[in-house]
């Protein structure tokens, strides 16, 4: 075994997943509350302070973490203890694994595993995310949690299909399954001025993918599995850090989905209209990674905006939207893409 590769991968993993992914996910717990407050003309969290410094309430995630760690870890009677303990981890880990195939910048150094079949690997890994919600609800021996997990399973399996099918158009246009290759291909300019981003060549797929990804992510307007006001959701019996882990995994998936959308549809680390030759050495890398991060944060912002704008769908509407609208439209998108590509 080549230990250098392992060491390099570990360092990359620490920076990409722990620093970027979990860092942003942690801050998102604050962003979610603050942004909802600002949208609704409120002030939002601003009380937690260290030595009198309030920092717009940025210490609230810290306070939440301390609280989550010190609270009682409750296990309900009749729960399947093994699965009950495992479920939050199963929810969190696939998201962390999926980051391995996303390129943060050009070349092999800024991606953990530069796989040729990156998209397939990603779809395979993220599908595991269902198990966290499903097992969590099932193992806690609670009718509401069970309902939530059933909804989660049905919804995520439904939207998994459209999510995958929307990416088929992308393979066809760019002719590759590798994320790095797709990002390189998005650096071209169409007609000399329009960047050949996924959103430009596959606009319908972008919209459908965003919708399917939101649903996959169990966030509003597709937060049926959680549904705070009707069933409390698959995590109703969870407390302390296990509950926090479920929440963190949800936010982590937000970051992941935003990163996937950035890489596939928004040109990844590409900065359009920028001549890389004009900038010395390493700085171009910094700029490109910065572009990736900024685009990811922008997509997260849009997802948050959707979450605080749209009311929750009814369950039958979610299923109808998934199977009768998004799925046929995805197939239509593939058909049209194939016809256009054959004619070009």
């Amino acid at each position: 075994m080549n230990w250098n590769i392992v060491l390099a991968a570990t360092i990359k993993w620490v920076f990409m997943v722990l620093v970027f992914g979990l860092g942003v996910a942690g801050i998102l717990t604050w962003v979610e509350r603050k942004m909802s407050a600002v949208i609704q003309d409120r002030v939002g969290p601003n009380r937690a302070s260290i030595l009198g410094f309030r920092m717009l309430g940025l210490f609230h995630p810290l306070a939440d973490a301390i609280k989550a760690f010190t609270k009682e870890d409750f296990v309900p009677d009749g729960a399947n203890r093994v699965l009950f303990f495992l479920a939050p981890l199963i929810a969190l880990v696939p998201g962390m694994l999926a980051f391995a195939v996303l390129p943060f910048g050009p070349g092999d150094n800024l991606v953990i595993a530069n796989m040729d079949s990156g998209i397939i690997a990603l779809l395979a890994i993220t599908s595991f995310g269902i198990y966290g919600a499903t097992l969590g609800g099932w193992s806690s021996n609670n009718a509401f949690a069970m309902l939530g997990s059933l909804r989660a399973a049905a919804q995520m399996i439904s939207y998994e299909v459209s999510m995958g099918l929307n990416l088929v158009g992308m393979f066809m246009v760019f002719g590759t399954l590798s994320f790095s290759q797709i990002v390189y291909a998005q650096g071209h300019l169409l007609g000399g001025w329009l960047p050949e981003w996924g959103i430009v060549v596959q606009p319908l797929a972008f919209i459908l993918f965003m919708a399917a990804a939101l649903a996959e992510n169990k966030r509003a307007p597709f937060d049926l599995p959680e549904g705070e006001s009707e069933i409390i959701g698959y995590n109703v019996e969870y407390s302390s850090m296990r509950f926090a882990t479920f929440f963190l995994s949800e936010f982590f998936e937000v970051v992941l989905i935003a990163a996937i959308v950035t890489v596939l549809f928004l040109g990844g680390w590409q900065i359009p209209w920028l001549d890389p030759k004009g900038i010395a050495g390493g700085w171009i890398r910094v700029l490109q990674v910065g572009a990736f991060v900024v685009k990811t944060l922008f997509v997260i912002w849009v997802m948050m905006l959707a979450r605080w704008t749209l009311p929750r769908f009814r369950y039958d509407q979610v299923m109808k939207l998934g199977w009768k609208i998004i799925l046929p439209l995805s197939l239509l998108n593939i058909l049209v893409t194939a016809i256009v590509l054959a004619m070009l």
Binding site: A37, I39, R42, L305, W308, T309
Partner: protein, 172 residues
């Protein structure tokens, strides 16, 4: 003829049924509020409670207070009207005798049990001497023991002020 205001129901059109345009419109509204919120603090509806307090309305019924005469003694003549009017029987009065010819009684003990009081204000209405009022603009602060919830005449007088109303009937 009754006038009926007919409200036009929005008719679903193709663009609303597709829903996408409406979603974007809604997100536009949210984004507008978002940028307004982070640039100006104008439209905030929040009151930062412990630091800033909303002013009480003028007729707010707060903590009771016993009014005073010019010499600082309570105006109360221990007539028991407030205790009789009180629907929750929270007022306990013990009358004492005064030397003065026209006002013969004074409250030796005037106690309000705030665990029972419902802040209805009937006692204020019943008082013929303008001796008890609820316009102190103060909340009753919760206490740790039952005994602390009984406010005696000394506590009530502390909040009290001078009343200008004439007292003592036609002989005074």
């Amino acid at each position: 003829m009754v006038k009926v205001k007919v409200i036009e129901r929005p008719v679903p059109t193709v663009s609303t049924e597709i829903y996408l345009k409406e979603v974007l419109k809604g997100m536009g509204v949210s984004a507008k509020h978002f940028f307004q919120g982070i640039t100006t603090q104008k439209n905030l509806v929040t009151t930062q409670y412990p630091e800033e307090k909303r002013p009480y309305p003028k007729r707010f019924r707060g903590h009771h207070r016993l009014m005073k005469r010019e010499d600082g003694s309570a105006r109360c003549v221990a007539c028991y009207m407030c205790a009789t009017a009180c629907p929750s029987h929270c007022i306990t009065i013990e009358a004492g005798e005064r030397e003065e010819p026209y006002i013969q009684k004074y409250p030796r003990k005037f106690e309000i049990d705030y665990l029972k009081c419902v802040f209805c204000g009937f006692c204020v209405d019943a008082c013929p001497q303008d001796a008890i009022r609820m316009d102190s603009d103060k909340h009753r602060i919760p206490a740790y023991t039952r005994q602390d919830e009984m406010a005696g005449n000394i506590d009530l007088l502390k909040l009290g002020g001078l009343s200008q109303a004439r007292q003592g009937g036609k002989w005074s």
